[in-house]
Symmetry: C2
Subunit: 272 residues, 2 copies
């Protein structure tokens, strides 16, 4: 089946690296940064890259939608607009397929999740973060993550998460809530509560192996003062993000997109 | 004597922390971040804070000029302008004092150095960085630093520094060069060349003491995977920045401001 995830955040927040880390594949080759003299683009671009991957024995067509330029200009006025347009054009194309006589082969290209990368300032959400999330939260499942979380100490991460959640509440932004079903077994409920308690996930990505002080080979980043391990839950929330996105909630993300976000958009569209 | 340093960069790049670390004093109390509901300022502010400090047995009146808001808005159009105006108004006030009959007590409030904080993206300078430096490099001694350098591995720092220097060269930006005098002794020359080779400095700041694995108490940041030590030259260029700013070049910075930057501004002003 199809799963489309959009990735949004300013350049240099480790987005490409995180996607490679999440899906254990070099979906994005190491970035060719534009030469100093190159003409820089003036607007936000929308780029898609797809791959057939296998997760938990399930084969899926993963599409990652990249949004280079978002937040990168001196003026980022309405930089959310091309992104919103893209999400809605995918709704349009789904609606058009739904309205056909033959509906056997509907291709679902709608965006099922949007990973929004927050700069690890340690302070609060930035105006551009708030603006983006307010413009898009009724059209896509928003999953905010704290980028490059190895910039922050454990104490700073706790304070920052609290502050982000209160900014989100204050601005009445809806972020994706992993549903917890009462009829699930105790273990699953506990697991989902544990995942939910870590939101927004403080993530670190790495597409290379490094050696730890005690000789293990791990995915991580090697600094003179130590090695951060991406898959170590004491070091960051990468594992939790991966669990939520791929193991426990891929189905919920697709359903919520179809049953709620798309339906609301469709009703509004047909009323107008 | 007087030394005025201006600090510029977006919120959350560790500027206040670095100033406290540089001068070993809590010049800036831990930041009170605005509440989620607080009205955010809409323009760049210019704020000054002064303290009498002693460095190398020399007592000096240190003034730090802060520029909150720079780079923090969705639109940062001309966010350099209030900063340039402030620098030039200080030139104006110096010129006015120079033109007086009694010139015994000239107070030199001109900005002697501007620490410009570069976000550790690992890619290249951002448009806002280039624009700021191009607008200000003929009016103030620019000292670009890579902020929160503990975000980058040694390898990433080397590549990033090279890229920043080629961006600077491409845009014909003049940054402060620590002069190397041929008539200095060998040791001083070697030291100054060593300092110059590290520019732009990759800095880390910390105003708290932490304990290392081997029991030492150091200024640094404690992560689950290790402790970064601010004063350890294997970990970052903080010591080099401090040497250049305070030990070796405070006099050059003031002289260059007076003999070159101010004089050029004054000639241009009198011609027009
Ligand atoms: N500190 C830190 N650096 C990272 C992380 N992920 C990627 N990087 C580095 O950050 C730089 C930019 O990463 P990239 O994935 O190209 O960012 P993008 O521009 O958002 O796609 C590269 O030097 C990466 O090695 C992370 O989790 N923590
Ligand atoms: N990783 C890292 N974090 C830092 C560094 N310096 C300060 N911080 C943290 O970054 C956050 C913002 O620092 P602050 O000095 O208030 O930044 P400012 O907004 O630029 O003045 C705080 O949580 C600091 O503890 C540094 O060198 N490296």
């Amino acid at each position: 089946f199809q799963f489309t995830i959009m990735v949004v955040g300013e350049s240099g927040l480790g987005k490409s690296t995180l996607i490679n880390t999440l899906f254990n594949t070099t979906l994005y080759a190491p970035k060719e940064v534009l030469a100093p003299s190159a003409e820089r683009p003036k607007t936000v671009a929308i780029q898609s890259i797809s791959a057939d991957i296998e997760e938990n024995g399930v084969r899926l067509r993963l599409t990652v939608v990249d949004t280079p330029g978002f937040g990168d200009f001196v003026n980022n006025h309405e930089s959310w607009k091309p992104i919103l347009d893209n999400i809605e054009s995918r709704f349009d194309s789904y609606l058009e397929q739904e309205n056909r006589v033959n509906r056997q082969k509907i291709v679902d290209n709608r965006v099922h999740a949007c990973l929004y990368f927050i700069q690890p300032t340690g302070h609060s959400l930035k105006p551009i973060d708030v603006e983006f999330m307010r413009q898009l939260h009724t059209k896509v499942n928003l999953i905010p993550v704290i980028a490059k979380a190895d910039t922050l100490t454990d104490e700073e991460i706790l304070k920052f998460k609290q502050r982000i959640l209160s900014d989100i509440a204050h601005h009445q932004i809806h972020i994706f809530q992993a549903p917890i079903y009462d009829n699930d077994d105790e273990e699953t409920i506990a697991e989902n509560e544990e995942i939910a308690s870590k939101i927004p996930f403080a993530v670190v990505g790495s597409d290379r192996e490094v050696r730890t002080a005690d000789g293990r080979s791990v995915r991580g980043r090697s600094y003179p003062w130590g090695v951060i391990e991406v898959d170590n839950e004491e070091h960051c929330d990468f594992v939790k993000l991966r669990q939520m996105l791929i193991r426990t909630n891929m189905e919920e993300l697709r359903e919520h997109t179809n049953d709620v976000l798309y339906e609301n958009w469709r009703s509004e569209k047909l009323i107008n």
